[in-house]
Amino acid sequence: MRQFDRHQGLVAPMDRANVDTDLIIPKQFLKSIKRTGFGPNLFDELRYLDEGYPGQDVANRPLNPDFVLNQTRYQGASVLLARRNFGCGSSREHAPWALEDFGFRVIIAPSFADIFFNNAFKNGLLLITFDEATVDRLFREAEAEEGYRLDVDLEKQQVTTPSGEVLTFEVDSFRKHCLLEGLDDIGLTLKDADAIDDFEKRHRQARPWLFRQAG
């Protein structure tokens, strides 16, 4: 997994609540058997005026000029500012893959859907939750000031605004550790292989029917 310690980046404000996983990456792109290459189709139905399909060259597709990520001032954005319940819907990890592939490293919102939240951290994205009032204020600042950038320091759990204001955020210590070190969960869990073995033996003894196949 890609490591994350500190990131400074341009902020794109996406003013819409309940952004669901179908909106983040529509289903026709889930047919890929790879983890990469989803960036050009991130928010496909919002970004383009036509219907997209896999394997298409997006260069010739008509862009929706009203969509935030198509506006000149937000080109190169790597911090996404979002509204409540971002990432609701499916468990498809293609959603964080698409956000990451597009170039986002940080998403800030008042709340996130559980499965999306979990998937995002496993792909090197940092998700930060601030209260509604703070997010509202960041929206106003990002919309008012062209080139609005945030400095995100995971180690210190701080976000610094262009005016020098420092906002602290909470992050799960395990997720923080994995992000800072770029650690692979599976390797970590396999360090506990003996504990899993022991559990499995006790489990099999107590409930042997869980270990039988159709017969």
């Binding site: 859907a113 499965i115 979990n118 799960d172 550790h177």
Partner: protein, 487 residues
Amino acid sequence: MAGQTLYDKLWSRHLVKERDDGTALIYIDRHLLHEVTSPQAFEGLRLAGRKPWRLDTNLATPDHNVPTTLKERAEGNAGIVDPVSRIQVETLDDNCTSFGIEEFRINDARQGIVHVVGPEQGATQPGMTVVCGDSHTATHGAFGALAHGIGTSEVEHVLATQCLIQRKMKNMQVRVEGELGLGVTAKDIVLAVIGKIGTAGGTGYAIEFAGSAIRDLSMEGRMTICNMAIEAGARVGLVAVDETTVEYLRRRPFAPSEEYWDAAVADWRELVSDDDAPFDKVVELDAAEIEPQVTWGTSPEMVAGVGAQVPDPAAAGDETVQRGVSRALEYMGLHAGQQITDIQLDKVFIGSCTNSRIEDLREAAKVAKGRKVADSIQLAMVVPGSGLVKRQAEEEGLDKIFLEAGFEWREPGCSMCLAMNADKLGTGEHCASTSNRNFEGRQGYGGRTHLVSPAMAAAAAIAGHFVDVRDFGAERAANDDSQVQEA
């Protein structure tokens, strides 16, 4: 000591290790796989030189990409016209073969939507932890199993370690007491719950559905309810074990053998919340007050009783909510104050992991029997959840009822719930759908989805617009119950 909730019991039964940072390793008993969220996980195993920890917990079937027309299905994988879809299904076959995982392939009679197949086979059992790379895994909680959706990284993690790294959720109880009105079903209960608590109302919680109205439901109805827990933001939905659960599982292929049956049942009967178990949140609904539900917007919480009107954005909560409602009405092509029953429909879809089981098809067939799909409906399709559901329905003559009424009778798969195969809505088309998500574009680019129960979908197909199924021969349907069974 205070009692334990069902969720607490399931959690502690599977706790391998608690870590200092508050996370825990949880052992997984059943891992279901389909073609969309597994290829990258198998690839990850290969790249790292890892093997599955325990093969016999895994069960796979292709469902999202499979075509539902008989002609295409007759050719097996070769009948999948879209080459990208075909590769994904073939990749599942290849991975299952090379890793030694049991798979019900495209034309196996047992193939179907993974959340229909697991319970139908008895592969989902009370007291299990069940995961799948699919958010509707919550379905399996209907059996008193701890079941939730996972991402592809976690699919790989479960394959490699038989465990997941988890944090314990909070407990919510949704109590539905009383008797449902005639023609009102499990789907209406869960849509009413989502309407009440919102799509983020259950975030961070495991929801246990309880109360007499839930106890009175069949396993199919309980699955419909748990299936949509995720639409209320909760990864986990649960129903306690009772006689209905036990009877459903008896003699299913993967159910405990005779040798262990009694011990298993005794163990399962402990899977109820203790009377004094504390819940972090309790939500109560009166079953008698629940009307047949119809969603009018682009989120499952945008729902109303069939007798209601499309709401006015100006009267809808804070500014963010108001903007959401305005945008939804624009996308849906509806206006504030419009009667739900005035919404004209183009297509009707009866199917999906929410509502494609035998009972769902029976409910729809009761309404369709002896009637005709309205001329204005371009397509009304019934897609059974599995090959075995299809066979059962055909034995009961339901296929004939649907065909005579003008519905198409299809082969099993996820189909138009998310339109990864060829079944989809065109831009601007309104669809009465028994699926679970009415998100923008979900059923096809620019498509407009209205979530309803199977009976409501069938009634809408006949009328060409939404109608209250209670005024639409629900009484007659109830009287005809025995005839449908014997047809």
